[in-house]
């Protein structure tokens, strides 16, 4: 058994190479044929490819004769971020800081004759020493084919964070229409829509501070219409909550603020361009409070309810030689604000004797500023401004509250250095006579830097 199986195994082992050598010739022939067929088929395919390549080259060649390096019309794909974050919104970060040297204590800051709530005073009062300026974080992107969205957080010197803007805006409405909803800077005036990092001075004009609390933003809707004309004509209307000064929080249905505005603009030759506008903001404050002093010198608390209307006439004119502002350019900007308030005033002396009477006030103010870039990177600016405390009628409270007759004013001079589009260092000197009998000499140093997405600025 054992011997037989060994023999069989040996026979098999021996038989295999024998069989192989017998089949050798036929197999090799088959293999050679196979390789030849493969080579033939590849050669045919390569030839076809080469032919197509030559044809493609010929086409490209005839399209732009002689072109060599510019021959590939395909766009070079830019290094676009791949994956989920490809759709991340544009991020822009504004960093700002100031140093203030004031000759007066800002705790006593106020604007004589203009009744500002404490919260507004806290916002607009200058600060001494080092402080963080308005640093902003902005996110923006197209939502889809119909909407654009943007949000702006602002970090204030007192370490509070507010949402300056958070809105959606249409991009696909026809006929020059744009609808915006959410929180946004109202389109009234010229300076109102501009973010702090595009201001030409450290602070907003006095008139903006006195009548709008610096800058008026609103929660609501805005509709703008751009006329189909060759010269610029834009009109807009807003309805909103009106919770911010000069309005107040109201806890009611309907709108607490309405605004309409119209802007005209155009060019005068190549070197000049301009824009002028007229706006009206109407709010309905309820119980807007401020601290005051009565004729006897006692501290009182007043509150106003009624209607507040702010009219603004604004104009800006820009000059750049040949429209090229790289070396020198000049900007002249001015606005006139007039506020008419009508309603009732509740006079409150330590809570003991609340007396409600009528209230009617018409007050106004203006500023004019010029910014001159005298050399690349260097700009010099001068702003002069004045408020008129106007006529204030306290009705039955006229005998306890003094009617103001003072014209607050301020003059500011600034010099800024802009090493690039993205950075700015500023020195500002102001002589501030907002308070009667007080002259505050203010010196500010400021930096403003912008990081991230390249911002596009309004005119």
């Amino acid at each position: 058994m054992k011997i037989r199986s060994t023999f069989l195994l040996a026979a098999t082992l021996l038989a295999t190479p024998l069989a192989a050598s017998a089949a050798d010739d036929a197999d090799l022939r088959a293999l050679r044929d196979e390789v030849a067929r493969l080579r033939e088929s590849y050669e045919i395919r390569i030839a076809a490819l080469e032919k197509r390549l030559i044809q493609a080259e010929a086409r490209a060649h005839s399209a732009e004769t002689g072109a060599t390096s510019a021959e590939t019309p395909a766009a070079t794909p830019t290094a676009a971020p791949a994956g989920a974050n490809a759709f991340n919104p544009n991020v822009s970060l504004i960093l700002s800081g100031t140093y203030g040297n004031l000759s007066r204590d800002p705790a006593a800051y106020g604007i004589t004759g203009f009744h500002l709530p404490n919260a507004v005073l806290g916002d607009i009062a200058p600060r001494r020493g080092f402080s963080l300026g308005e640093s902003e974080l902005g996110l923006s992107a197209n939502v889809d084919q119909l909407f654009y969205g943007a949000m702006n957080f602002s970090i204030h010197p007192d370490n509070t964070v507010s949402t300056e803007e958070a809105f959606i805006q249409t991009t696909a409405l026809p006929q020059g229409l744009t609808l915006k909803a959410g929180r946004y800077f109202s389109g009234i005036g010229y300076a109102n829509e501009q973010h702090a990092h595009t201001w030409d001075f450290v602070d907003q004009p006095l008139a903006y501070q006195a009548f709008l609390g610096g800058q008026f933003n609103n929660d609501g809707v805005q509709l703008r219409w751009l006329a189909p004309t060759d010269s610029f004509l834009e009109v807009g209307a807003e309805l909103g909550r009106g919770a911010n000064y000069p309005g107040t929080e109201r806890n009611r249905n309907g709108a607490g603020a309405g605004a309409i505005f119209a802007h005209l603009g155009g060019d005068a030759g190549i070197s000049h361009s301009w824009r002028a506008g007229l706006s009206l903001l109407a709010t309905a404050p309820r119980d807007r409070q401020w601290d005051d002093v009565n004729t006897a010198g006692a501290a009182v608390s007043n509150s106003f309810s009624g209607s507040s209307r702010v009219w603004i006439a604004d104009g800006v004119w820009k000059w750049a030689p040949n429209g090229n502002g790289q070396v020198t350019n000049f900007k002249l900007q001015g606005e006139y604000l007039r506020r008419v308030e009508d309603g009732s005033l509740s006079y409150n002396l330590n809570g003991v004797l609340p007396a409600t009477g009528s209230y009617a006030a018409t007050q106004s103010g203006w500023y004019v500023q010029g910014i001159y870039q005298f050399a690349p990177y260097w700009r010099l600016g001068l702003r002069t401004e004045r408020l008129d405390s106007g006529t204030v009628d306290y009705g039955s409270n006229n005998f306890v509250l003094a009617r103001p007759d003072y014209a607050p004013s301020r003059n500011s001079l600034m010099l800024d250095f802009n090493p690039s589009e993205f950075s700015r260092l500023r020195l500002q000197y102001a002589q501030d006579k907002s308070l009667r009998g007080v002259t505050d000499n203010e010196i500010f140093l400021q930096y403003q830097m912008s990081l991230g997405a390249h911002g596009a600025h309004r005119f």
Binding site: G66, P73, S231, N322
Partner: protein, 302 residues
Amino acid sequence: MSHRSITSLLALALGMLALPACAALNILACEPEWGALAQQLGGDKVTIYQATNAFQDPHHVQAKPSLLARARNADMVVCTGAQLEIGWLPILLQQAGNPKIQAGQPGNFEAAQFVRRLEVPTSVDRSLGDVHPGGNPHIQTDPRNIGLVAEALARRLADIDPANRAYYQANAKAFAERWNAAVRNWETEAAPLRGMNIVVHHKAFVYLENWLGLREVATLEPRPGVEPTGAHLSEVLAQLQRQPARAVIRAAYSDGRGSEWLAERAKIPALVLPFTVGGSDRAKDLFGLFDDTVQKLLSAAR
């Protein structure tokens, strides 16, 4: 106010609002070269408004009210793209209330998409100056790019205005023939420029250099978009002692002080190239633009 003056005011207001009574395609051209090209291809079927002229730096234009008004009425914007107009075009698109010209729509034409862009950075950082993530945007300094853009623009015009498709195609064909012949001529004329060393004010000529084989040995701007400084100019001057250049060139809109300073000390000519249509007396159209550019460069080579 009298009844009559009210009526005349109303008439004036209505007159201002009246639509322009022409059916031509309204095109807002961000730069003069694209305005000239659109005019070549569109002929009397288009009305062109030039947003900028040759003496304005297209990086630094403002979103002026006049531009907003034109953007609102435009059927098409023709721009370079590659972020050249990033400081102002987004505002126009956002505020114009015009869906036709929004990004991604046929009415939003970006020329840089149709050419091979140079100097596409692999990483970007603002410390390097005003760099463009999409590559150098000054594509119009190579006429072969103009040819490529012309082809794409003619197709786009036909897409937007299909009624005149044949007209645009015929214009494009005629233009391509003339243009290709002109390019061959310029190339023959410019043969002596191959390998010529030049200094540039701004990195605005890479496509021109690539086309004609010019060698850029230095830039006057220490970093893109940063004006020349005294220290940097001195460095460039010292460099030119070791590595001489034949000319210092700048665009018509660039401030001339840096290149004049260098030209005087290095004893080389300071050339103001038209850079775009309208940038010199001879650059009246696209053909004149390159006639003049090549001639000016040749004058320095001799």
